[in-house]
């Protein structure tokens, strides 16, 4: 793990406005704060896992990190160059946007949808080569493609190269998508739930492959998942970090094993409770530690610390302002008042539960 930062997100905000009513009366336009002030550095040749439930903004943050989603606030920088300034041609552009665009790639969740059904594997994989290595001729491209197909275990490569996507299994399709991303020689690949749609027995294989190729191609991975076990495997093997997101905020981040062995944020602890394990003798932690089962409506998030409505440790101090990140050393940060021994939190009264326990809030978002 080197110290060079490939992509850094500085206080990034992404707010979506859903179009309000056309008529002058009836609701004002609703703003969803998909990402609300997140700062994150992604180093070279490293793995950062982002975990959270749906609606937490991890996918939006991921797309912002690879320059596909324009932030409404804050900055995204690639090797020091502000990505959107490069796009707009503003100021001193040291790294042109075209180069940035090619260095940031993606692997999608659904392997069946990530390849053009009308193109053979060969044809799909020629595209990145033509873009990145225009000097190669047809033969060189073919050889390169065959080489990569062999490398990921699709033998004989000539055979696989001529297939259409529907003639490949899910695991094979995903491997082709991986090759396609790698042939661009990127510095960062966004793996957006890249193993979630694969069979359980194939996941480790795919993650090992990604790590194996990471070294060869000198790429970083931003691995997004709602599944803590998957994230733990890939981040752990690469000795990387894991970030936990909740309703647009990064609530905890740190080296993977430290966060898993010593979680600081109550939400992280809840996620660990919720992650099923294989050990029948383990104390399964009983019933939900959360005060409410349902996630709040992202259009109307709670004040202060957004988790306070469900947090088992919430107190009145938590309803005021969103806690800043506390540095616990060794790259481990958490956004919770409990990390600060001297904070008012400790003298603040516990929150009384409103009405029925574990009831959903009135205006449920339909997004999941």
């Amino acid at each position: 793990m080197s110290d060079e930062t490939v992509v850094s997100l500085e206080n990034v905000e992404v707010h979506f406005e859903s179009a309000g009513s056309i008529l002058p009366f009836g609701g004002d336009s609703e703003v969803v704060q998909a990402v609300d002030g997140v700062s994150l550095d992604i180093p070279e040749n490293d793995v950062v896992a982002l975990v959270g439930e749906s609606g937490c903004g991890k996918t939006t943050l991921g797309k912002t990190a690879i320059g596909t989603q324009r932030p409404t606030g804050g900055a995204v920088k690639y090797k020091g160059q502000d990505v959107w300034k490069a796009n707009d041609g503003e100021g001193d552009v040291e790294i042109p946007f075209e180069e940035i665009r090619q260095s940031l790639q993606i692997i999608h969740q659904d392997p069946g949808a990530s390849l053009n059904p009308n193109k053979t594997v060969q044809h799909s994989l020629e595209a990145p080569l033509k873009l990145r290595h225009g000097e190669m001729d047809t033969f060189e491209r073919r050889e390169r493609i065959h080489e990569m197909l062999s490398r990921v275990g699709m033998e004989p490569p000539e055979d696989y190269a001529k297939r259409f996507p529907h003639q490949l299994s899910g695991g094979e399709q995903q491997r082709v998508a991986l090759i396609r991303a790698l042939l661009m020689n990127p510095d960062l690949i966004l793996a957006d739930e890249a193993v979630s749609a694969l069979d359980v027995s194939l996941r480790i294989d795919m993650m090992d492959l990604m790590l194996d190729l990471q070294d060869t191609f000198d790429t970083s991975f931003l691995f997004i998942s709602h599944n803590l076990s998957n994230a733990s495997y890939i981040a752990g093997k690469a000795d990387g970090r894991i970030g936990i997101m909740y309703l647009g905020e990064l609530v905890e981040i740190g080296p993977i094993d430290e966060v898993l062995n010593d979680p600081q944020h109550p939400y992280t602890k809840a996620l660990m409770w919720a992650t099923p394990n294989l050990n029948p003798k383990a104390d399964d932690g009983g019933s939900s530690p959360l005060r409410k089962i349902d996630v709040p409506d992202p259009r109307n998030p709670p004040t202060g610390c957004k988790f306070h409505t469900r947090c088992p440790e919430a107190r009145e101090a938590c309803t005021g302002e969103m806690p800043d990140a506390t540095d616990l050393g060794n790259g481990h940060e958490v956004a919770c008042y409990r990390a600060d021994d001297g904070h008012d939190y400790w003298s603040s009264p516990e929150l009384a539960d409103e009405g029925d326990e574990l009831t959903g809030t009135a205006d449920e978002s339909t997004a999941d």
Partner: protein, 350 residues
Amino acid sequence: MTMQQTHTAAVDDPIFEVRDVSVSFDMDRGESRVLDRVDMDIERGEILGVVGESGSGKSMFASALLDAVVDPGVLTGDITFDPEDGRRIDLLDRDETDIKDIRWRQIAMVFQGAMSSFNPTMTIEAHFRETLSVHDYDVEAGMERARQLLSDLYLEADQVLGSHPHELSGGMSQRALIALALVLEPEVLVMDEPTAALDLLMQRSIIELIREIADERDLTIVFITHDLPLVANLADRLAVLYAFEFVEVGPSDEVLTGAKHPYTRALLNATPNLDTPREEMRPIEGSAPDPVNVPEGCSYHPRCPLADDTCIREDPPLTDDGDDHAAACHYVDRVAEEVPLTLQEVTVDE
């Protein structure tokens, strides 16, 4: 072919007896058998976890239990249903058995993707009322029960009843579907990936709710999933499907800590989880067979480290050694050394 023997992990009081059940489809590429002569007993009041990856036949098993296999699939074999009131019913005998009477009233189902199980033009309340009246139940008493069920599932009954399906979040609609499945007080609940589309916390909460409901109402639950850890703590017994047959059945903790079939062991070693040390996890080589092209003999032999000539020639039957833990393997005694379980080291040290 599999020989018939009394086995399938000695069940004392079966509510379901599945014998020699197959589902086949005639495809251009050949005859495709997506469930291959399976035998299974399901104990009354138990939670049976049926685990299989995609392409193992698990959803077909759910459909078979309800005699709901879609055309042009052909379902053969015997399924005997033995409800509380004592009449043993041959589920597949269309002349004798009114399957519509049994479905939902005695055997209910909850499938993946609650949204598509509901009619988008009707409110949830309308769904309940329709279900109750179609089955000739007292609608008002039934609605009372519905309200109780919804609130047991931590839902705001009035709010949910008045909503349309798209107005509810995924978690809420899945819970509403579970309530709908329970409103006629069935004895059996068949659930096929009921939590697949849900988030971690919601998933876990619903599993807890299912456990509570099963206890309170003495339900028999067949929980089908590809996610082994999910069902590991919920189920009393686990049954593992591979290539359209059951390869292992037994009490959950025995299967988890002392699996007898090489596939189960390999699957345990390959499943990402927080407890197993990462370096020790191993992927499974090869891939699951196409239903048109299932290997001769033991269908797992191409991927099995113990495979030899016997395995290629003979398909091992699902047998136990007199205990209630059965596996379909010729070399059960050698499995422990050849396929070491990584997790075992962790639990033994405790």
